[in-house]
Amino acid sequence: MKRKTKFLRGFVAILAIGAAFSASANAAPAWNFEGKALEGSEVILGGAYESALTLPGLVTKCENFLYKLSIKNEAGTGKGELTEMPLYNCTTNSSACAVKTIGAETLPWPAKLTTVVPSNYIVIEKVKVGIVYSGVECALGGLLVRVTGTAGGLLDNVAETATFNSASFSATKTELKALSGKAEWGGVFPTEAFQWHRNQPLTVS
């Protein structure tokens, strides 16, 4: 009898561990306003507090990095679509290279929420940004550089922000590429509702 109980305990423990591991990799959180799951859809608008795209040796920054994200819950999972992302006043850290044009291509980009224990993340897929640098001395002058891939950002329920950096990319196993190499993108974005849930705190859980 004792042996049977021991076996059952062990079996339950294994099941619990398995469940925990699968949760850490795949759990899908939802969008919530004032503690309640979002019903229908909502629009999040904002501008990056700070944002930079880094290729080794060349950093591109935009003073105005705006975005419009349409969000909803589907079967209890937070989803979304990035529908607009105008970029203005962009510069580089190189005295040789200026940004001639920059813009998001093939919008909308699908987005989804995911949990990598203990944090929640937003993952934006099918990212495609085209940049044309100018400058007669710029090694990339006249070339269209495409930044493509998937971007994962850490969601902070208290600050109501999404932060994209190398740690968030690593945690979500996402990557952006440009010029055949890896591109690093960093930015802090406010997550504030602008349609039906204005001034209501947005949380993800």
Binding site: G57, S94, S95, A96, C138, L140, L143, L179, S180, G181
Partner: protein, 302 residues
């Protein structure tokens, strides 16, 4: 008589002075570039129409020609300039190459052919001593053979696609070459490929689609880095591949006995070798910069 000697001395002195002055000027002209720009010292950056300078150092790889595999052990340099890319037509996205100012657009670097003239190569798993003895007997000055990649056509026939290179997609470099086989018995004119029948490398950093029996192989677009504050683009760990090229029969081997030696070489290497039986893999570090930047660096550092 004395007057004549003096006059001759004066002329000689003047000639010497002119020669020294021109040497000094040439020295200065090639010593002006600084930092990473020094790599472009043989780029024709002052030539009208040259849009970018390129310096590609090949640091390894292999060429499989028929049944012979030659490992690239000594670096080969491809250098010069190129024009703006064509925007339409069959050559859209490709630039024309402009020869290096020192005449060495593709440096001629002899690579050792394993097994030499007799083609005797010990198996990979052989003891080191066996390999060393084999190299000593079959790859020495007499029986050893070297192979050198040479341009089969003028540099202006090379095509480079900056965008394919940067994005790591598509054919990035079209290189018409011939292979120079050298050995005391083969003479000085033993070639596989010629200006009228070149070996056409179409090198790419992505995946090939060769005819059988070769299978698709994949290169490596490498990694990117900007130098000199964005003025130089460096691509490193780039692997360019092509295994869809064909090679003609050897010619000119053995001097006046070429009618006898050519067939032997063809038989040993398996020439002519149809498309799908040959492979090139070249590992490169590539630097490119606008000709304007290179010229400015030159002017800024008199």
């Amino acid at each position: 008589m004395r007057k004549k000697i003096n006059r001759t001395r004066m002329v000689c002195a003047a000639l010497l002075a002119v020669a020294l002055a021109s040497l000094a000027t040439a020295g200065l002209a090639s010593a002006k570039l600084t930092g990473e720009f020094k790599k472009f010292e043989f780029c024709p950056y002052k030539t009208a129409g040259v849009y970018r300078c390129i310096y590609s150092s090949n640091s390894g790889g292999e060429v499989i020609l028929g049944t012979k595999k030659v490992t690239i052990e000594k670096p080969v340099i491809l250098q010069g300039g190129f024009t703006e890319a064509a925007t339409e037509g069959a050559e859209a996205e490709y630039s024309k190459f402009v020869a290096a100012t020192n005449g060495q657009t593709l440096t001629k670097v002899p690579q050792n052919v394993p097994g030499g003239l007799l083609g005797i190569v010990p198996p990979e798993k052989s003891p080191t001593l066996v390999k060393l003895l084999s190299a000593f007997f079959f790859e020495n000055g007499l029986t050893g053979v070297t192979s050198t990649l040479e341009l089969a056509k003028p540099a202006s026939e090379i095509r480079v696609s900056e965008i394919h290179l940067a994005e790591g997609l598509g054919v990035a470099l079209k290189l018409p070459v011939m292979v120079h086989l050298e050995n005391p018995f083969l003479g000085k004119s033993c070639y596989v490929g010629s200006s009228s029948s070149p070996i056409k490398f179409e090198l790419r950093p992505d995946t090939t689609s060769p005819p059988k029996p070769n299978e698709p192989i994949t290169g490596n677009p490498g990694e990117v880095e900007f130098l000199e504050e964005g003025r130089i683009l460096k691509l490193f760990n780039v692997e360019l591949v092509d295994n869809a090229w064909s090679a003609p029969a050897a010619s000119g081997c053995g001097g006046i006995l070429s009618f006898l030696v050519n067939p032997v070489i063809n038989s040993m290497i398996g020439l002519p070798s149809a498309a799908g039986k040959n492979t090139t893999r070249l590992k490169n570090t590539i630097y490119q910069a606008p000709a304007f930047s290179v010229n400015k660096n030159n002017n800024d550092n008199p």
